[in-house]
Symmetry: C2
Subunit: 324 residues, 2 copies
């Protein structure tokens, strides 16, 4: 049976957002709450509360299921949380806990994979069978599609683009590794460069965007100043674009994707950084691969909800043997 | 119809080897010749001559086809040579030229992909559905299997593992890029380290293996000295193992393979380097992925012939709708 709706839940370090989504990607209702800090069961309760609200008035047969995106490493095949930096969810059987209460199918996945699944179904990657998604935000994540399917790897843990090594002797990454993409392009790395510039007069525009406080200076302050044309901020972000491009050259050489979608808060807000990366790829990738398109993601703030809902539709349809 | 034989041709910068191979991987006959330097048609003629010799006495219906491995970037879908560093084959329609003369199906592929296909069918990767092959030789190449199939990318150019970026500001790579794996682990890089050591007394064991001549000092001299226990050579190769491991950490994080096979002349001859890489991966990969097995390839000198023959069998069977 072809159901009409799915629920997508986007669990982040600071807030949880959920939406009731039509098959075509329209969000009919949504709600959100701050992420509880009182341990895993409080998080589960918050998810259930949001979902219950969305399901009021809906006939159970209209719902494909519930997708939940987590900022965590997920063993997709076993549906378990292996590792989670910001939330105490490792080892907690989120799926079973939510499912036993809401009585609908629940599927969990890594937020980077869901960004790719969402862009594939509703956004910038429609129709692309082999593509790479990279999300630049607090962390750097992503996902990969092969032959029109999310690539998951042998244990369902694939897609951690942010933890590719791009510098053998590079700086520490929050995950414990060294020289990973995330240690160059995560919000913390961009903010650190902004803070360094703001220590002197030349970085005053960046400091202004942070309300004059070095301590409050975030990646967003750098991006805002850059978008207003401040040279120092533009320079920082162009450098980030070069690093993004060089990192992506490796993926283009290795994977020969037709498309790369750059998303996440940083990626979606900073078009010229993405363009700089595209230039680097056009110059430095191996022959024959340079026709890869590099574009910004399209789903914006709703990416998390839409990606999780898209997963719920996909899982429903594969359970029922339906094909899109 | 289930044919009995395939011909595998392994075209290298210095020699061309060909073999008549049974389905189970036994090489029934083989022959080889030096790679002609007189241009592309001389290379094609040499291939045809080797193949013709192997086919004497065989009924055409017994042959699945001919696979040809080239040290080149191949657009597999269009069966064209995009780029070739050592041989003047770019743009030459090798497949059509050989096929029109020998009157059997011909398929060409990159030698790294064929190494993966050969190990999957006959060697160390039997039964592994998601794995990575890396070949360490004069160049660094490789291939990747996803779901029991070679991963080819949108234009069939996938698998160039040697040209992943592992150092943003790294040394130049023969391909023109910067900081690629090949610029650290290709024979030239290992030989350069050996030569540097051999300039002083501490590198005398390495120099001995090169017959006392700095100019003749190759990666093989370093490996030979290392296998005999010379500390300086072991140190160089252990360092290479660390770099190999760190590069592979990125792939393990990104792709979550169940197995990594290290082949090529350098990879197959230097077990302790591969073991060092495996240790690094066990220490530095993200949680949940560290169970990946890292092993040496098994097909040795016959890898090129067997991989090309395996491709010919695969292509034959997919044309005929057969499944193994």
């Amino acid at each position: 049976m072809r159901t009409s709706y799915a629920v997508g839940v986007d669990v982040g370090g600071t807030r949880i957002a959920a939406g009731l989504v039509e098959r075509k990607g329209r969000i009919v209702k949504d709600n959100r709450t701050l992420t509880p800090k009182a341990g895993p069961f409080a998080v589960v309760d918050a998810i259930i509360e949001l979902v219950d609200e969305l399901l009021v008035g809906l006939h159970p047969s209209e719902l494909s299921g519930i997708g939940i995106g987590l900022p965590a490493q997920i063993d997709f095949l076993r549906q378990t949380v292996e590792f989670c930096t910001n939330l105490p969810l490792a080892g907690v059987d989120i799926r079973a806990l939510v499912m036993s209460r809401v009585r609908h199918e629940v599927t969990i996945d890594n937020d980077g994979n869901l960004a790719a699944i969402g862009e594939f179904r509703y956004g910038a990657a429609k129709g692309a069978r082999d593509f790479l998604m990279i999300t630049l935000g607090t962390g750097v994540g992503g996902g990969m599609f092969v032959n029109g399917q999310p690539y998951r790897g042998s244990r369902g843990l694939g897609g951690e683009i942010g933890h590719m090594v791009v510098q053998l002797d590079g700086p520490s990454c929050p995950c414990g590794g060294k020289g990973h993409i995330e240690s160059y392009l995560g919000r913390a790395a961009i903010a650190a460069k902004g803070r360094k510039a703001a220590e002197t007069y030349k970085g005053r525009a960046i400091l202004d965007e942070a309300g004059g406080s070095l301590d409050d200076l975030t990646a967003e302050a750098v991006i805002k100043a850059g978008l207003k044309g401040d040279e120092v901020a533009v320079h920082i972000l162009m450098d980030a674009g070069v690093i993004l491009g060089q990192a992506l050259v490796g993926f283009v050489n290795m994977l020969n994707p037709q498309l790369i979608v750059v998303g996440g808060g940083v990626g979606e807000s900073c078009g010229f950084m993405v363009e700089r990366a595209a230039e680097i790829i056009a110059e430095e990738a191996l022959a024959g691969r340079r026709d890869v398109r590099v574009i910004q993601a399209e789903l914006g703030n709703d990416a998390g909800i839409l990606g999780a809902a898209a997963l719920a539709f996909d899982e429903h349809d594969s359970r029922e043997g339906l094909h899109r």
